[in-house]
Amino acid sequence: MTKSARTLYEKIWDAHIVDQRDDGTCLIYIDRHLVHEVTSPQAFEALRLSGRTVRRPDLTLAVPDHNLPTTARTDANGAELPIADKQSAQQLAALRTNAPSFGIRYIDATDREQGIVHVVGPEQGFSLPGATIVCGDSHTACHGGIGALAFGIGTTELEHVLATQTLLLKQSKTMEVRVDGELAPGVTPKDLILHIIGVIGTAGGTGHVIEYRGKVFEDMSIEGRLTVCNMSIEGGARAGLVAPDEKTFAYLKGRPYAPRGADWDKAVAWWKSLATDPGATFDKSVVIDAADVQPTVTWGTSPEDVAPIGSAIPAPESYADPSKQQAVKVSLDYMGLEPGTRLKDIAVEHIFIGSCTNSRIEDIRAAAAVLKGRKKADSVKWAIVVPGSGLVKEQAEAEGLDKIITEAGLEWREPGCSACLAMNPDKVPAGERCASTSNRNFTGRQGPGSRTHLVSPAMAAAAAVTGKLTDVRELTG
């Protein structure tokens, strides 16, 4: 029986129950499945070995992203350049053959639509509000920004979805993160989600699906919502959601996979009905005042190690929990930082603007706005801007943003996951520091021994100019 007043999450869940078992486990229908090269090969192999097929290849879309180098993919004559790393090349080649052999639509590394799965899905209108979306990557939560129930899955689950278009799941608890008021100038959705993770902690959302509610999210662009939902996983939640609204509909209308004609009207009517009912309750609720959010950076190796840019590195003793004290010590040791150091005094040698968190056109614009007429500091050795997809790249170039970026001394690259994870050639050397717009500052995430500070695109651009973590508002006034 369904409850009378339901949350957005509960409505999507209820609409997708295929079957319910006695122990409460549900067989949930999956509307959209995004596939990339890293987690899929063994799932395809298992299908092949057992003589099974993909149930709904038409609801599945494959695109390579994680392993691809972000340097030129074709030579001057348009011939494809080989990939140096043998294992990367093997994974990419496997996807290229697996997708068509199972009848799955495939965007190739050399296609203009290629990009990071989580950028491509919404951009193509393949990801839709109210849909259940899975992908073998934990940042699938991203698609919650358009109101989809989206989460990452492992290889065995991937095989299950390919073969049956369903998953066996237990319903999550609901959590509301409410932010009312207005974000101050210079404060972006990335700063907000870093701040939120700082408040709730990396385990704050465990077992829950978060719904982001309140004026700040209503005012936020779709791309900003995608950034926020993307990092729900860093707050421990399996998924994050923002209710679809007029902005969502305007964003999706006319995109290649978006519904058309009568289907579109029917879709909009249903999407509108998904908003959390008045009187619906959440298992957990967190309220944050937008006025408290500053441009925020991470200083440690956990995404909850955040601080406003104007502050200093905390002392381990400032934490009540002894195990957190220990974790902070280890983390500061790894990061090569001392308690009490002002964040603004931390020099960075590398800048990475990209990843499924921050590589959409608004992110590139925000970075370019800071870089315009400025130059990268000489102390910054390596600074790259990696658009999330070929279409983002085209758009940025049409606006002349690539010129601004390269004139400032930063590199303008081909789309892919890049330095978000150390799987392709874009890596941060051991012991060196990177201001990065990605989502994870874990030990070794950007390369063995790499030190990551998570920031917004504007803050990353500001760091590129000064060679230090910087309050972007001091540059832009």
Partner: protein, 200 residues
Amino acid sequence: MEPISEVSGRAIPFGRKNVDTDVIIPAHWLKTISREGLGEGAFETVKKEQDSVFTDPEFAGAPILIAGDNFGCGSSREHAAWALLDMGITCVIAPSFSDIFASNAFKNGILTVALPQDAVDRLMEVAQTDPIDIDLQSQCVTTRFQDRFEFDIDPFRKHCLLNGLDEVGLTLEQGDTIKAHERRMETDLPFLAKAVGTAG
């Protein structure tokens, strides 16, 4: 998945306790694109030890592995089960197993048999020279020396193993229920039920 009703043959008398998944298959084997071929990396470090049972020709191709307490602890990598299967092992006997390993083994059609330590000790002894028989239907392990050890198994897992059903196979049995849901979607939410597009 291959159905299992009985496993008979030589058993590798490994007997070690707390064998973690990194011992079963070291991390550097994880960048593969296949489940097959992992047998080569299975117990890689143990194989390098002197007089390892894993390099003893006597046990080559043995379908059974006997280990100590807490077999398969450590990371959740499914590669551990794939590696065992690839080396031809379809049954592991130990006093206890890590939950995640047992679940991964089950998902891949490997029978895990938990027996008391003294029974395991006795089987270790027999395994040095003689084969061992495991009958899943009657849930017992026997030897040609009249040893007989009964074991417990979850009835659901037993059913799946006997019939070669993995989770995917089980859900596929619900094909009609899934079809019915798809029909409902086509009427109620047609825009989700299909993805008509132009890219790719």
